[in-house]
């Protein structure tokens, strides 16, 4: 069978600093009808750029400099705007990473759904609405008959992502490009979306390019996998071969990341005073309680992972500990001593002892300050060091986070990569010489290799400085890698807590069990098996709702 999509020698350049710099250096790609190709790579590998180029489209400031993109015999690079207009949306569709940002908030879902078929003259509005409802039902959206008549903000993230998939399907395209469709979702939500996408793609025999950085996800979805690195193809093979015997070193290193795990520490001696203890905390935003009687302890030199999905109260707990949100009932104790509830009433030393590292290093570092100023400020503020003493301390901290001081001291955050920014966040926390650090999803915005580096660094620092971490995460692989104790939260309550080993060995609480079973595994049959084992109605949010 001939190819549906053939890309030959694709070179793409992006404009920055007045010159054109290569982004993609000659990539070939073949896609047959009904086939799913997984594109994986770290950020900056050019995955999305290739995905968009497969539609003959480039973002502003980016151009296709060489190569052909042939879709069903039409070269999209040279096709006129009119020809492309006839294809896009009708025969080629695109599902974006953030459905919440991609839907127009001013229109109802069904109106956006019917737009493409009506505009392309594929269908009239009335039957397109019916078709939409049918697709919603197929994708197992709750209340398929009426969900389309809601506005995007009235629908949850996972449901929006499925509605977007339905929208892409509205003209029954031959090719859909999925650009990280589940990256922003919780694991239990992700699994539902994955199952729906796979089912519908199979049913309509649609070809798809599935872009993701998550190997386990791509293993479930793709027939073949192509690995990209900085605009070059590393290797391509069918999914099973790729998973069992990757050839290139880079691919192997991607695979190996998942094996990282810190050795377990001995149990805490009874009677030891915890560094931080959260005691019966109930907290509210306005008049609605969002935390209910949360209690747990964190001991010196150990990592407590707080796990849960978005909205489970993990970050709110952190806000109570830091004093940004004074609890309504309950208290926070530091070294056995009760802290004032409001951070403004805490002493400078109390503030110094507990530091925080944020999820988004982009918003956590002041973009107008140099690295030297960012790290130097707490050094000066708490330690009182100025001039060359301050500079020396900053250099020491930069060395601790494995960045060359002379090279980075005068840079701005925008001149650093994501991983480096996160390291600066760590250095700023360390500069205060704290006992206790809250790490709020510190690796969730990073590529796997980079995230692993950050986790290793945090581990080494813990061993060296005896730090305690409260590690907030939704990623169970991270928990497995670094936690000593685990606290599982749901709806503002602690569901289960205990040492890591206990948490990962059955029997679990039903919710923990669901959470653990929803984490995609590298086995390509994992999703199929899970669906068989549990049934389509007992996975993801549907199962959560039953609890």
């Amino acid at each position: 069978m001939s190819n549906l999509l053939t890309i030959r020698g694709l070179k793409i350049e992006g404009r920055s600093d007045e010159t054109w710099n290569p982004i993609i250096n000659g990539v070939d790609l073949n896609l047959k009808k009904g086939e799913v190709l997984g594109l994986i790579g770290e950020s900056g590998a050019g995955k999305s750029t290739i995905g968009l180029a497969a539609m003959g489209y480039t973002r502003d400031g980016v151009r296709i400099s060489e190569g052909t993109v042939e879709f069903d015999g039409i070269d999209l690079v040279r096709a006129s705007a009119a020809v492309k207009r006839g294809l896009l949306g009708k025969r080629i569709a695109y599902v974006a990473q953030s459905a919440a940002a991609s839907f127009n908030p001013a229109h109802k879902l069904i109106d956006q759904h019917t737009e493409a078929p009506v505009q392309h003259g594929v269908d009239n509005r009335a039957s397109s609405v019916e078709d939409g409802i049918e697709l919603y039902r197929k994708l197992r959206l709750p209340n398929p008959d009426e969900i389309g008549f809601r506005y995007p903000h009235q629908v949850s993230g996972g449901q929006l992502q499925r509605a977007m998939t339905a929208m892409a399907m509205s003209c029954r395209p031959d090719l859909i490009i999925f650009d990280e469709p589940t990256t922003a979702l919780d694991v239990t939500t992700q699994i539902e979306v994955l199952a729906s996408i796979r089912e519908i793609v199979e049913e309509f025999d649609t070809a798809a390019i599935y872009i993701t950085h998550d190997l386990a996800v791509v293993a479930q979805m793709a027939d073949t996998i192509k690995v990209l690195l900085r605009g070059d193809e590393v290797e391509e093979a069918d999914t099973r071969t790729m998973l069992s015997s990757p050839k290139e070193d880079y691919t192997k290193s991607l695979w190996a990341v998942r094996a990282f795990e810190r050795p377990a520490k001995p149990a805490v001696s009874t009677g030891a005073v915890p560094v931080v203890s959260v005691r019966n905390v109930t907290a509210a935003y306005g008049t609605t309680d969002v935390l209910h009687d949360v209690s747990f302890d964190m001991h010196a030199g150990r990592t407590v992972a707080v796990v849960g999905e978005s909205g489970s109260g993990k970050s709110t707990t952190a806000r109570c500990i830091t004093g940004l949100l004074p609890p309504r009932i309950g208290e926070i104790a530091f070294d056995g001593e009760v802290l004032p509830a409001d951070y403004r009433k805490r002493s400078k030393d109390q503030l110094r002892q507990a530091q925080m590292i944020y999820q988004m290093a982009d918003t956590a570092l002041n973009p107008r300050k140099t690295i030297g100023q960012i790290i130097g400020r707490p050094v000066q503020f708490y330690g009182g060091l100025t001039g060359s003493a301050r500079r020396a301390r900053v250099n020491e901290l930069l060395e601790q986070i494995e960045l060359e001081p002379s090279q980075y001291f005068n840079r701005l955050p925008s001149e650093l990569s994501g991983g480096q920014k996160q390291r600066i966040g760590i250095a700023r926390a360390l500069a205060a010489e704290p006992k206790f650090i809250i790490c709020d999803e510190v690796t969730s915005a990073l590529d796997q290799l980079v995230a692993e580096g950050i986790l290793r660094l945090l581990g080494e620092l813990q061993d060296k400085l005896g730090l305690s971490y409260m590690f907030i995460t939704h990623d169970l692989a991270t928990v497995k890698a670094i936690a000593d104790e685990v606290v599982v939260m749901k709806d503002g309550k602690v569901i289960e807590q205990g040492p890591k080993l206990d948490m990962f060995t059955p029997p679990h609480h039903a919710y923990t069990d669901l959470l653990l079973s929803s984490v995609p595994e590298m086995d390509p049959d994992w999703l199929t098996n899970l669906l068989q084992e549990r049934g389509v109605d007992n996975i993801g949010d549907a199962a959560v709702d039953k609890m």
Partner: protein, 400 residues
């Protein structure tokens, strides 16, 4: 009726030309993407621009006097405008070239990536600053000095009623216009600059304070600002100036100081609104939370964490606000309550010399007198905005 018909014909020719242009482009370049995807509106734009260019050249070459011996003033003013534009462009280009080879490595790099508009703006601002600072040394006569001849026209050509001693002529009571323009820079620009800075200091710090602290302080400040903004600003300023003119005499304080304060307070309400809105977006960032949790004080938060990030929109506003303040002062002076005579001020000069504009049709050199002061205002306004646009572009990190 015939003129309407002419316009219709011209429009039809242009519309047809656009179609032909696009079609020919597609044929000649063998369907290059530029012509292939060109919208009809874009093609029309190209043709219209070409037609306008041809008309401009034709009009520039028209004789200065009509056959009947009448002055063709339109051509004269058009030639001056075109010449001024070309001279400005050359000056800007030379200034940029100069900047590329003189100065520190930093400034040289800055000049290399500078657009021509920005270098023009900087050049004009520099010239104004020099003129304003050294007005006493540069001006040939005093600003209030009444010389022998009144109503001398500009140009210095005795045949046309000029006098080489007064290159830009004299006003109705015989004061040298060039000197008054130069002193006017000192008075008008200097006062406008001080006023704008004051407005930014008041509005900016209160706005950031409201954004950081929120709660009742924010409510109090915002509602007070709402009240002030509800009153039309020029009328409000006039009202206050009238009251102040009584106080000024009683207290023995120059009226100018009251004017600076009044305009600064009125304009600070706009700055407050902007600073608060920008500040509210910044205070929710994690780095502000980190600074709060570190135990930083209010001053550090506002001036070290928030201000640097609010610089770009504030700068843009500064450029605009400076022009508005400047125009308000000129307007107040024009209405007679601003900078008081005999001090030279561009607004007053426009008002005093305004009747000369009636001579435009037959004596362009005489009519130019009120336009000089108005032109000085316009030039600075344009220059400031060019520079601000460029700074914004740079600091926002916008590419292309």
């Amino acid at each position: 009726m015939s003129s309407l018909l002419t316009m219709a014909i011209i429009l039809a020719v242009l519309l047809g030309g656009a179609y032909v242009f696009r079609f020919a482009g597609q044929k000649i370049t063998n369907n290059a993407p530029m012509f292939r995807d060109m919208g009809y509106g874009v093609a029309f734009g190209y043709v219209l621009a070409a037609a306008l260019l041809i008309w401009a050249v034709w009009y520039y070459l028209q004789p200065l006097e009509t056959d009947a011996g009448m002055k063709n003033a339109g051509v004269q003013f058009f030639r001056w405008a075109v010449q001024g534009f070309i001279i400005a462009a050359i000056a800007a280009f030379l200034f940029r070239l100069f900047g590329q080879f003189v100065g520190t490595a930093g400034t040289r790099k800055l000049f290399r990536s500078m657009p021509l508009t920005a270098s023009f703006g900087i050049l004009v601002i520099l010239l104004y600053a020099i003129v304003a600072i050294f007005a006493g040394a540069i001006a040939p006569y005093g600003q209030a000095e009444i010389l022998g001849a009144a109503n001398v026209t500009a140009g210095g050509d005795p045949a046309l009623g000029g006098n080489p001693e007064y290159p830009l002529g004299t006003d109705q009571i015989g004061r040298d216009i060039l000197s008054r323009l130069i002193y006017g820079a000192q008075n008008t620009v200097g006062i406008a600059f001080v006023t704008t800075c004051l407005a930014f200091f008041i509005g900016g710090s209160l706005g950031f304070l409201a954004a950081t602290l929120q709660g009742w302080l924010d409510q109090l400040l915002s509602r007070s600002v709402d009240v002030l903004m509800a009153i039309p600003s020029l009328i409000f300023a006039l009202l206050l100036m009238t009251i102040a003119s009584v106080w000024a005499v009683e207290l023995g304080v120059p009226l100018t100081i009251f004017m600076v304060l009044i305009i600064a307070v009125i304009d600070s309400t706009r700055v407050y609104r902007l600073a608060r809105a920008v500040g509210l977006n910044i205070v929710v960032m994690d780095y502000i939370e980190a600074a709060k949790l570190r135990g930083e004080g209010l001053g550090y938060l506002v001036f070290k964490e928030i201000l640097p990030n609010a610089m770009a929109p504030l700068l843009a506003e500064f450029g605009l606000r400076f022009c508005f303040v400047f125009l308000t002062i000129a307007a107040l002076s024009f209405l007679g309550v601003g900078i008081q005579p005999p001090l030279a001020d561009w607004g007053t000069m426009v008002r005093d010399l305004a009747p000369f504009i009636n001579f435009a049709a037959f004596a362009p050199t005489a009519a130019v007198t009120p336009l000089l002061a108005a032109g000085a205002i316009a030039l600075l306004t344009v220059a400031v905005n060019f520079v601000v646009d460029w700074m914004l572009h740079k600091s926002s990190g916008l590419k292309e």
